[in-house]
């Protein structure tokens, strides 16, 4: 099938591959340690690993957008901030 209309670039392909690997990793993690690590964190409702990953991903999208809107510095700063945020989410939420 012809896929040129999807206009792939290696950058976006990498991006989606990373997401796919994250999902795969979550499945493996679940296989190794079932139950999802459910607990009630600082948001005061029960979250599992999947929830924490989702929060991290969604928030890193917002962090990147915010960085683009309010700062001229390199976007890698936003990426580092997102990673830190994700670590915090996995630790405390």
């Amino acid at each position: 099938m012809d896929l040129t209309w999807m206009a792939w670039t290696w950058q976006t392909a990498t991006f989606f591959a990373v997401i796919a690997f994250l999902l795969l990793g979550m499945m493996l993690w679940e296989y190794v340690a079932p139950g999802g690590g459910a607990r009630v964190g600082i948001l005061r409702f029960e979250t599992t690993r999947g929830d924490r990953l989702f929060i991290s991903l969604l928030m890193s999208a917002y962090i990147h957008l915010g960085w683009l809107a309010f700062s001229d510095a390199s976007l890698w700063g936003a990426t580092i901030a997102s990673l830190a945020f994700a670590a915090a989410v996995f630790r405390w939420v």
Binding site: M1, D2, W5, M6, M27, G50
Partner: protein, 310 residues
């Protein structure tokens, strides 16, 4: 489920009067409850509680009346002046629609893709909703949420890639393209509603059936589906409704052969001048299928809107 039946019975309370003593008693007590309710409201609302829904319905009917009014006028009369009802009553616009293949083919293709979509959505949603209502499995909650986000994704975002996607697989300008594209929001909705109805059926029924030696498919078709028949009806109604009213994707995915009626309308409005009478008549005719469908599910509407789980 039992609740649904009760509601239906309540709505038909009068019909049920001679169908058995127990039901008659139930009907009578429902009627008594109704009278009580009316008395209660009557006292507290000063006897005028019915004014609010009446005014609201009048407000809803006014634009529809205006559309019907316009559809029976000639274009000259519409543009010539203002009148509350047609002065030169004419059915010319309707005759034009029923004799011109461009117009009636629009209706045929709209109904075709809506029906295909309803059948696909309900069929694939049934087992999925069963899975969500009966089992826990890896990633179930996230899957459910992801499904719902698609119900909530703005179609405008998908318009252009959809055009490319369906052109690439060679379905562009067929009813199948629109029917499949509408699955994007109708399947999640169907799963959501059906799951609500299925959760109302006690699990003991499943277990008893398995003990009796039913296989899962046989149990599902013979026992389970009749139990949630009203839920399936409501779901089909919702799928019909959202597929019928959506236009952005339907217009994007069709060109000539499978053009939906609503798109024929927009084209007519722009190419052949401003034929308001014709436009109004076509509009009236697009409301008719909806009205017919509502009439069939009227006793389940309220329950259906609560997605089966109040």
């Amino acid at each position: 489920m039992a609740q649904v039946k009760q509601d239906a019975a309540r709505n038909r309370g009068i019909l049920l009067r001679d169908s058995g003593p127990a039901q008659a008693a139930a009907g009578a007590s429902d009627r008594a409850a109704g009278t009580r309710a009316r008395r209660r409201r009557g006292r507290e609302g000063g006897g005028f509680w019915w004014i609010v829904p009446t005014l609201y319905i009048v407000f809803l009917m006014l634009p529809i009346y205006w559309l019907i009014n316009m559809s029976f006028k000639t274009t000259n009369e519409i543009l010539g002046g203002f009148s509350l009802w047609p002065q030169n009553f004419t059915i010319e616009s309707y005759v034009e629609i029923f004799t011109n293949p461009v117009w009636y083919n629009g209706y045929v293709s709209s109904i075709t893709y809506v029906l295909i979509n309803t059948v696909i959505s309900v069929t694939v949603a049934l087992p999925a909703a069963y899975a969500f209502s009966r089992y826990r499995f890896l990633g179930d909650k996230h899957l459910f949420f992801w499904l719902l986000t698609n119900r909530m994704a703005p179609p405008a975002i998908f318009a252009l890639p959809f055009y490319q996607l369906y052109s690439a697989i060679g379905l562009f300008d067929t009813p199948w393209a629109v029917a499949l594209a509408h699955c994007l929001f109708n399947i999640p909705l169907a799963v959501w509603i059906l799951e609500g109805f299925m959760s109302g059926v006690p699990k003991e029924i499943d277990e008893t059936a398995y003990i009796d030696g039913y296989s899962w498919p046989r149990f599902f078709v013979k026992i389970f589906m009749p139990l949630i028949a009203s839920g399936i009806g409501v779901t089909a109604f919702f799928c019909f409704m959202f597929s019928w009213v959506e236009l952005l994707l339907a217009k994007t995915l069709t060109a000539v052969d499978a053009k939906p009626i609503a798109a024929v309308m927009t084209r007519t409005a722009s190419t052949s001048g401003y034929e308001l009478g014709l436009l109004a008549a076509a509009g009236v005719l697009t409301i008719v299928p909806g009205a017919v469908v509502i009439w069939f599910v009227r006793n389940y509407i309220a329950k259906g809107f609560a997605l089966g789980r109040v």
